[in-house]
Amino acid sequence: MRGWASSATGLACVAVLALLLELAVAAELIAGYVVAPPSAMLAALVTVVAEEPVLEDFCLTFGATLLSTLLAVLVGVPLGYLLHRRKLLGRAYESWIGALFSAPLVLLYPIFLVVFGRSIRVVIAMGFVVAVVPIILKTREGLAAVRPVLVNVARAFNASEAAVTTKVLLPAARPTIFTGVRLGLIYAMTNIVGIEFLANLSGLGFLVGELYDRYDIPGMYAAIVCLILTSALFYALTGRLERWVGAR
């Protein structure tokens, strides 16, 4: 009941804000070429969806996000496992990988453009580079937090190393690893949209930039709203998936 009331209040606040914005633009308190009034935005949403390849751009951006994160999982989980098993490597590299977190890796995109050419491969490579960092760190963190008693019991029953890994360590660390995967997905998407926007590659980020360059302000606002809605949906879905993985 409470949850219902709070989401209704949230929606009402957004509606009131939209109305105020509409009035402010109509009264020329805010210039219409800076902020598109919500009514024009809604009208533009229809034309943008009808005239621009929105669905195709959406598929490109999200396909690239998923693919680069999948690659990051395939590389990052084994690397995290290696850092856990070889304590020396773990101690030597962990702070370096942590530092990569804070380095603005997105700046590498010009190099990737030259190496891979202007293609979807640049986008996937850039998504991969940022997604792999949290996946490695969270895999190692999850494996380190597995209760030793679980491993000892498995060893006591003469389980092989492979069985200990697949039947005990990985399942126990799964929720933490998935947290890393979720972070990786969001980082990859952020980076991918950024490169699409900056380098005028295809995808949702490109669409926003192109509408701005054409000075179609209501259309640009509509495209931005589309992007906000899809990333919010993405966030909510992966959050639900994370709870589901954690609960099993």
Partner: protein, 249 residues
């Protein structure tokens, strides 16, 4: 397993890795596997780095970028803490605003750049705006989460002593928010840095992002690597400093 021999081993692994990466880079540079110039010899990068560090314009750009980051980060942090206290003080408000804040927080901030440029112009204002917008979300999320952890007894005691709203904020809320907000600020500084650099790449006439992309456009790749290396080093150092501040608390 003494600490000392282990430290030596860690050091040895790191040294070996640096040497191996360096060797691989040089091999790649000399093999001609990639287009000419994409992977310049490390000697040329080192020479370019020395040239950059000797160029007064490099420091002008670095200071400019630092100014934009710090100004925007401070604005975003202040707004995030204020909004976090306002929303977090009422469970209902926090629940109502939560989905919108989390939804916007996960949106790539770069798409707001056109709006920010329309609102704040194409100069330093838009970069500061991007940094503020980027830093706001991690801070406000941390502040709301921190407000949920504030001991209800403290609030009730303060209220029963007739504490005013500003007393409540200064003497109860702010002290209990220090720890969660500093960790939010650490994330915020990172995203504010990225916001400023990307905005400089898209449209600017100075700053480190502009400098790097300028080198790229004239295909001075070694110089671009030099600027990128310096930028990464500065970003990592700033983050380490924030981390140290956060741990000191």
């Amino acid at each position: 397993m003494t600490g000392r021999s282990e430290r030596h081993a860690v050091l040895a692994v790191r040294l070996a890795t640096v040497l191996a990466l360096w060797g691989a880079w040089e091999l790649l540079a000399r093999s001609g596997l990639l287009y000419e110039g994409v992977v310049p010899s490390s000697l040329r990068v080192a020479a370019a780095l020395a040239a950059e560090l000797g160029d007064p314009l490099f420091y002008r750009d670095a200071l400019w970028t630092a100014y934009e980051i710090v100004a925007g980060f401070a604005l975003g942090t202040l707004a995030g803490v204020a909004a976090g206290i306002a929303l977090g003080a009422r469970r209902f408000a926090a629940a109502a605003a939560g989905p919108y804040i989390h939804g916007l927080a996960s949106t790539p901030k770069i798409v707001f750049l056109p709006i920010v440029m329309l609102l704040c112009g194409v100069g330093a204002g838009s970069k500061i705006g991007m940094a503020a917008l980027s830093a706001f979300f991690p801070v406000v999320i941390a502040a709301i989460a921190g407000m949920a952890e504030v001991d209800a007894v403290l609030v009730r005691v303060a209220r029963s002593f007739n504490a005013s709203a500003s007393d409540l904020v200064r003497k109860v809320y702010l002290p209990s928010l220090v720890v969660p907000v500093t960790s939010g600020m650490r994330l915020g500084l990172g995203v504010a840095t990225i916001g400023v650099l990307l905005a400089e790449i898209k449209f600017s006439d100075r700053g480190l992002g502009h400098r790097a992309i300028q080198h790229y456009q004239f295909f001075r790749v070694a110089d671009m690597y030099a600027v990128l290396l310096a930028t990464f080093a500065l970003a990592v150092a700033a983050n380490a400093l924030m981390g140290r501040l956060a741990r000191r608390r």
